[in-house]
């Protein structure tokens, strides 16, 4: 095991105000279970889980609430004992509504119900087979906890003919304000180590690269200690502080020097699998302790929170309860963000609840939030220089503004990772990222329609 500096620097990138000092010194605190949990069936990328409980049921911590529904899907479990008050569509952080189980955790258990937490039998990962381990990860409801929420077991099971040469563990945490991954690496480096060994077993003795930004020296030191005696090809790669260093493609480039081709290519096409540190630690708990995914660490921060903290909260904790646990609001927030300031979602209400991908909750005061009206593009080229995908963001934005989606597609808008660097630097305050999203949505809708049409045509009349 050795620590090296990244020698591959991607083009573009920006330096937003990180504001990490608000929460970086705060030890992870476990939050008591709130009186009500809102557990969404759609906490991951892919099809929402199929709800298997109904209003009036009493559920026990660890019990299945939603079953995996299709290939790209993960199951959802009860984060606490409680009475199912309702199963109804609820607003999620990203804006859409999805079925959610509303749990009253204060309701007394009916007579005769065993209220002990439902756990899976612990597995000895050294003795277990790859299939056992994958089945466990699937059963435990694990998905990428860095933000996208891709089902972990699917990612760890490359299609035939593709082999993983490098497991890249993503501890970059390049989003402003967020410290959840930093605290996790600092406080639970041993869990990350176990997780890495399990993943390495599943992926078949690949090399391991632990990617951490240079602004987290304490985390690097903790990982160095935890991984000191690990055998095999393992390196901690210290990355320059640059947003979006945590982007999968850019992290692969920074750690291994390989470039993932344009979509639909995936990291596995260049022999890489990227997993967030939080996911890796959750893998260790799922295998060694038999714990299904019931909680996660979320950074609650921003200048409108009285005491910014890193909180381990049950999944389904409403934002209002998280804020209350952090001393409440120091002043009325002007904007509430689920995630970080670069890629997070502005949410309309504190009634929204955490999911497996909620890395942060930010409450920003009026001073931190400005509303701008955008001006005409002055062609300054800042967005082009900032774009980590080296797209001509200005051209794409102008094309979309003129409803010319074809030109945007020709300018490779589908490669856009929506990191927000272009909008961040635009002196004319143009919502370039939003234009890109609009183009991508439009193109996806067109492709889906074309597929549907082709399928209909293929069907015999």
């Amino acid at each position: 095991m050795k620590t090296v500096r990244s020698t591959f620097r991607f083009k573009g990138g920006v330096h937003p105000d990180y504001n990490k000092e608000l929460a970086r010194g705060k030890v992870i605190e476990t939050m008591p279970c709130p009186a009500e949990l809102v557990v969404s069936m759609s906490q991951h990328l892919g099809a929402p889980a199929t709800c298997v409980v109904k209003a009036g049921d009493y559920v026990v911590k660890g019990q299945l609430l939603g079953a995996r529904n299709g290939f790209i899907s993960v199951p959802v479990h009860a984060p606490a004992n409680g009475l199912v008050k309702a199963v109804e569509p609820r607003l999620g952080p990203a804006g859409g509504k999805a079925p959610a189980v509303v749990l009253d955790t204060t309701a007394p258990a009916p007579d005769g119900v065993d209220v002990a937490e439902r756990t899976l039998p612990p597995l000895d990962w050294r003795a277990a087979t790859k299939e056992d381990l994958l089945a466990r990860i699937d059963e435990a409801g694990l998905c990428g906890m860095g933000g996208a929420g891709f089902p972990t077991s699917v990612k760890l099971n490359p299609p035939p003919g593709k082999r993983c040469e490098y497991l890249v563990v993503n501890g970059a945490e390049c989003e402003p304000y967020l410290c959840a991954d930093f605290r996790l690496m600092l406080e639970r480096a041993d869990r990350v180590r176990v997780g890495v060994e399990i993943l390495r077993k599943i992926l078949g003795d690949c090399a391991v690269r632990l990617a951490v930004e240079a602004n987290k020296p304490e985390a690097i030191a903790a990982l160095e200690t935890a991984f000191a005696d690990i055998d095999g090809n393992v390196e901690i790669v210290v990355l320059p502080v640059l947003y979006p260093q945590g982007s999968e493609k850019h992290q692969i480039y920074a750690t291994v020097g390989r470039v993932v081709p344009e979509p639909p290519a995936l990291p596995i096409d260049v022999g890489c699998v990227v997993e967030n540190v939080g996911t890796v630690a959750a893998v260790a708990d799922a295998v060694e302790k038999g714990q299904v995914l019931l909680s996660r660490v979320t950074t609650v921060s921003g200048d409108a929170v009285r005491e910014p903290k890193n909180v381990e909260a049950p999944l389904g904790t409403k934002y209002a309860d998280l804020v209350a646990f952090c001393g409440g609001e120091s002043e009325p927030p002007a904007k509430v963000i689920s995630g970080g300031t670069m890629m997070g979602f502005a949410v309309p209400s504190l009634e929204i609840a955490t999911t497996k991908t909620t890395s942060g909750l930010l409450l920003l005061s009026r001073r931190r939030v400005s509303q701008y009206s955008s001006q005409a593009c002055i062609n300054c080229g800042r967005c082009v220089r900032a774009c980590p995908m080296t797209l001509n963001a200005a051209e794409i934005a102008k094309a979309v503004e003129a409803d010319d989606i074809a030109s945007a597609e020709a300018a490779h808008v589908m490669s856009c990772i929506e990191c927000g660097a272009c909008t961040f630097v635009c002196p004319a305050y143009r919502p370039i990222t939003q234009f890109c999203r609009r183009a991508k949505a439009s193109i996806r809708a067109r492709l889906a329609a074309e597929r549907a049409k082709a399928a209909a045509a293929a069907k015999p009349a």
Partner: protein, 331 residues
Amino acid sequence: MKPKDTAEHYILSSSPHTHARSSVSRIMLDVIVALLPTTAAGIWFFGLPAVWTIATCVATCLVTEALCRLAMKRENTLGDLSAVVTGLLLALNLPAGLPLWMAVVGSVFAIGVAKQVFGGLGMNPFNPALAARAFMLISFTGPMTTWLKPLWWKTPEAMTTATPLAAMKRLYGCDVVTQATPHVEKALSGLPSLWDLLVGNMPGCIGEVSTLALALGAAYLLVRKVITWHIPVAFLVTVWLYAYFAGGAPAHLQVLTGGVMIGACFMATDYVTSPTTAKGKLVFGFGCGLLCMLIRQFGAYPEGCSFAILIMNALAPLINRWTQPKPFGGK
């Protein structure tokens, strides 16, 4: 817990939720600051007439901009300071002592015709100040090529004189103007010393003479990251190399005289009318330098910088198309 009904009104917007805090007006202000040294040098060398020209152009540009926006029923854009930059750049590209009504006409053309007709800032295909200068050079050829001598010029008896470029054109024989005046003979008798060339003690437009002041301003723009090095360096290197290999006047004279410095650092770098990518900027700068020297050597005018940049402005969209960046991971 019952959801609060009306208490919460959080701002909803698409990410990102933070900004680098740059702005168009801040960029324009930086350009104005960067132009201050050469403005001061122009006033030092040409005195009050320079002050009047600058004040007239800036004021006329602002008034024209306001009136155009009013007539077009669009929002007022004086606050973005681009009209100030256009006025200042136009004035710096005019000879001191030009009748002020001509400066007014030029300024109205710059904002009204070259900029607002196309829809305002960001939409104009040509650099407004240069378009206006070209218009004035054709409309008022005499006054536009009558150069007030610098206050510290070595031939105190003359009021007006030829620029070193015009003198060079005569001296090195690519000349179409044949009648040499006594002033020209005097200028020929001694081209400005290197020091005079650097500080700007020579006849010329108000803001083009002082290479040192222009370099100071360009350095400020580079440090503030308002411009990148690509266009100025490509432009200046091309001019120097052309002059070096074409023979004739010493190569450095071609760089240090006329509008090359102000053109390379302040006019060709105009965002709206130049390419976006680094590669495109290099092509653009090279084209500007090449055309400038071709016009200087073979054209009717001794100076070709403005026309060179205007022609390249027209080519900028094409260069942009040729130099689209390859996406990360793309083919």
